[in-house]
């Protein structure tokens, strides 16, 4: 029973189905339980939350990643799968073992820096971080450096993810690093940057810890930084 339910969770992550209303990759699945309902069933059946997380949601997401690597899946498949995992995590949250902060692999503050209104890349990374088991606090777009540092402190974040699309706004990423230093947080909070005009060299120049050339690289870098 437990194995069957966990298997269904994996299948539904692969299908990208958040709940019973969603269609899957294959048509005709609407009406069947999705990840949210299946996770609830698993909890009600007394299955350990670690089991649901590791062998259900994370396993499903790993398989999605593999399918992406082999060209079977595309970005929309990754995103919908990550959304399904997020729904599952929402159901799990109240049931996580007392004493754990529930942040999974770590807590990440995500933001597009001040004067920059672009959010596709930042959203992509946020959704995929959640799907990969991170807790994400998304501050949105056009966020001043001071506010990002403040949120990192309040949320006790492990990582700050910064996005910029314009070469006129990318310099504001450096301001965030400085604000974190001012607050004495720099040794506790890692900084990961990304966006079209940025680069590995630029990350080093402003004192960030890492650079993700695309959403997948960003997830890999986040995992490395918070290992």
């Amino acid at each position: 029973m437990s194995k069957e339910l966990i298997g269904k969770i994996v299948d539904n992550v692969l299908q990208g189905r958040r709940n019973k209303d969603d269609e899957g990759i294959e048509e005709g699945m609407a009406g069947e339980p999705g990840v949210a309902e299946l996770v609830q069933d698993a909890i009600d059946s007394g299955i350990d939350t670690d089991e649901i997380l590791l062998n259900g949601l994370s396993r499903g997401m790993e398989m999605v990643g593999q399918k992406y690597e082999t060209g079977e899946y595309f970005i929309p498949d990754m995103l919908t799968a990550a959304e399904a995992v997020e729904e599952g995590m929402k159901v799990m949250e109240p049931h996580l073992v007392k004493g754990e902060d529930g942040s999974g692999k770590g807590k990440v503050i995500m933001a597009t820096v001040e004067k920059d209104l672009h959010d596709i890349g930042k959203n992509l990374v946020s959704i995929m971080l959640k799907g990969a088991g991170f807790t994400v606090v998304d501050l949105g777009i056009d966020v001043p450096a001071a506010r990002i540092a403040e949120a990192a402190e309040e949320e006790k974040a492990n990582l700050v993810g910064l996005s910029a699309l314009l070469n006129t706004t990318m310099s504001n990423m450096g301001d965030v690093v400085k604000e974190l230093e001012k607050k004495g947080l720099r040794d506790k909070v890692k900084v990961l940057i990304g966006g079209a005009p940025t680069s590995e060299d630029f990350a080093q120049e402003i004192g960030a810890d890492s650079y993700g050339k695309d959403a997948f690289a960003a997830i890999r870098e986040a995992e490395k930084l918070l290992k």
Binding site: E23, I25, I75, P76, T80, D119, I120, N123, S126, I127
Partner: protein, 489 residues
Amino acid sequence: MIDKTSLGLLENPGILCYHEESVSLLEKAGAKATATREGEHDAWWVSIPEKVVRQALETVPAKITLGARNPENRVILEAEGNRVHFGSGSETNYWLEVKPETFVSREDGHERIIPVMKRNRGNLDYLCRSAHLSEQLENLDFFIRNVNVQDDDITTENKDVNVFFAALNNITKPVISGVADFDQLEKVVNMAEIIAGGREELIKNPVVSFITSVVKSPLQIVAETAEKLIAIARLGLPVVISTSPQGGSTAPIDEMGMVAQVNAEALAGITINQLANPGAPVIYGAVPVRARMDDLHDMYGVPEFCHYNMDCAQMARYYKVPCYSTAGVGDARVPGIQAAVEKMYTYTAVPFAAPGLVHYAFGLLDKTQTFSPEQAVLDNHKIGMAKFLHRESGVNEEAAERTLKTVQEVMHSPYRMYARHARGMLRRGEIFGGFPFEGDSEDQDQTLLNVHEHLKELEARDKQYLPEEICKKIFDTTPGLLPRLNPYK
């Protein structure tokens, strides 16, 4: 206006006809013929009045089926339909081999793999390979042989049976072809009957259709081809009346002049076909091209070519006769930027006029001199793009309702992204897949190298040979077939 001008031309100067039986058929229908002598040959000036042409057009079937070994691959042509089918042709003299070779740069010392090309004379083996490749190309809807065989053991007497067999044994899609020697027509039809399962079955599922270049531009009816045209009409098998004037030499170069003449030529062929057998399946085939001004060679990748061909397709539609048109010939000698520009241009433009058949569409380079299998694979992708472009519009009531629902849903979702919506379309095949041969080099175009690798995979796929007993029957009853073509020996 084109119709009126073409009919005016058919009346005066009329056609210069070298075929007595055609003259006789036209005269019986009301045309006026005057005997003349052209060099060593008897000929007739035939003035065809409008009513003769109109009567012939009335009996042309508006719907024609091009049969196929695999009935699922049949092509249904409707004169007023919008479906455009792409196919191969013509008989090129050369096959272009691509061989990747490694070179070292004198400048930076780096090794690079560069595709080196070599032209080889066409032969039967290449023809079999091209038919097998055509079977694999999902956007190729019908096969016209694209390699002229020049093997030592091929003669005038055995060429037709061997090339037809080579095609039919390697592809399960419709095969359309010309017959070089009139005396071989019966043998070819016999072969097709064996494959289809008998004469009646062949009529229902014509696994072969024919092309006759009955007109020599300007406005001359060739004796031997007219004889084939009449014979095929009487067999009740589909035939394309193909006329290929060159604007600037054998036809006027301006749009009106060219189209009026080529239309008159096609109408003359259709009229003879219908007089020979009213109701016989016939296809309006116009292949008008423009001359290059520097050497008078054909020129395909130019705007005038599109004008000519689109006008002809519209004329065929006006007459309610299924149409055979042309797109995708590269004037370029090798695959590359020039070929891509020329081909994409005509693939995009010509289908706007909705001809039922578009031939010459795969792998042709150096006008129609060279066939490149790599280019055919590339063209398959370009044609996929053209087919996608010309699909039915996605703007309709149902889509409008869906849009309201989708946008309302997405606007109330956390990240306001349409990924889920895009995924649905992606999985239903409603999103075009992009360029499949993209390289990852930053200083070299790797397209041709990637296509070359893909071609190897396609060529390694299983062959769809005719069943053994059918092959045996064909070999037993068809003199002249070369034993080396028999896959079971």
